[in-house]
Symmetry: C2
Subunit: 254 residues, 2 copies
């Protein structure tokens, strides 16, 4: 049965997160509703690279699903976008290998976090960036980022609710750049724990405002205690930017 891979973008504002929940509007729910329409009422289960929380956005979420419909990727693209609501957009559609898995084959992810550098609320950014009015010491944040890079147990940087036992992850890149009044953090890693990016941002902001020492990250990691890290930054500044797969995994079956 053909397996289809899609890269999708969504504005997380109107969703109770990615994952299906009874009675709630979710990204997965809307995707499965559109596919069910195309499939004449037969339900199709969609798998994603991972969940996103309520209010969190995606610029490059990856999903897959199986179908018996004999439709070319280009036509899937058009059909899905015509059936999906305005706040979800399918960026690309590919025919995948039959054993491709959006989640298990992912070898890395990139997240970005947008701060609106302003003393004032901006009604147009209220759902798309975290308004932050304090001066930030970029050197201090860069120093702290360096200590966070690499392979560590990130227990201190994940929600206490995390059920995953293995909390060792590799952070490959952390940087930030200013653009049009925003400060944008980039995080690339092999995988991220629940709330990990938002806690990393919250902690780096404490470093940037001088409330936490730039060279205290290794100790914080070693402590393996969530209560010692910074606040969880708000979800509406966060974007799942890209999901990485090995070339071989992606090679399309023809």
């Amino acid at each position: 049965m053909p397996r289809i891979k899609c890269t999708i973008s969504y504005d997380g504002t109107g969703f109770s997160g990615y994952q299906v929940q009874p009675g709630k509007r979710t990204v997965q729910g809307e995707l499965e509703k559109a596919l069910e329409k195309m499939n004449k009422g037969t339900s199709i289960r969609v798998s994603a690279s991972g969940r996103t929380d309520a209010g969190v956005h995606a610029r490059g979420q990856v999903i897959h699903f199986d179908t018996t419909l004999e439709i070319e990727p280009a036509r899937w693209h058009i059909a899905l976008n015509s059936l999906l609501p305005d706040d979800i957009f399918v960026l690309s559609v590919d025919l995948a290998k039959p054993d491709f898995h959006a989640r298990f084959d992912a070898v890395g992810k990139e997240y970005r976090y947008f701060l609106l550098l302003s003393k004032h609320r901006d009604p147009f950014q209220r759902n798309y960036a975290y308004q932050f009015q304090y001066e930030l010491d970029h050197d201090a944040m860069r120093k702290a980022s360096k200590q966070l890079l690499g392979t560590h147990d990130f227990t201190s940087f994940c929600s206490a609710k995390t059920e995953v036992e293995d909390r060792v992850r590799t952070l490959k890149e952390i940087d930030f750049y200013e653009e049009n009044g925003f400060l944008v953090f980039r995080f690339v890693g092999d995988g991220f724990l629940y709330n990990m990016v938002r806690i990393l941002v919250g902690t780096l902001l404490e470093v940037g405002t001088g409330r936490r020492a730039a060279d205290s990250m290794l100790q914080l990691l070693a402590n393996q205690d969530r209560t010692l890290a910074g606040k969880t930054a708000p979800g509406h500044g966060l974007y799942l930017w890209k999901v990485f797969y090995d070339e071989e995994v992606l090679a399309i079956r023809k």
Copy 2:
């Protein structure tokens, strides 16, 4: 009784337009609700430079109201912003002359219209710019704009529902610029009729795509017939950008 002038910004997405309507969420309604709270339950009527339609945004709408409260402008600013919902923001507050009127004293307005130049929907821009996928001939649009500049009867460019009898207005500037994937139209004039900017945009887009001659604007104005102009462009691309007042009118009473 002190008269207060405020410049405000709002995301029009969540409003049924500016003006109060029973049972609908409107900008004026939210402003008056906030003022009523400050005024311990006594209602205060707010006057604006003009209405905006459902979905239309503002970056520099001007309003005024009278108050018996003895509060400094800086404190009004903070208090109002703390009481207003996230999609309205007060940019500035001034003590006005007692006879200042946001609407009748306005000597001009600037509107901007945002086109998202893209073949694809962008979930993040769906409420903030009109997605437009066709090539536009800028020279043709510039020629047409020149014919529209100046003082004309704009009957062809206002909604047939317009009840105003005098449809003579002066367009002082029309131009457009590209920025970050958007084409932004700027319109400055002494006043604008109902739907006038959106019909101007719709007509210029027909010129830009070659469906209407660039030198046909004077004839179109002369015909004074709305049915001969272009379509009304969608409201969600439109921003009330600035309202102009004479310096003398603005001089603050101390």
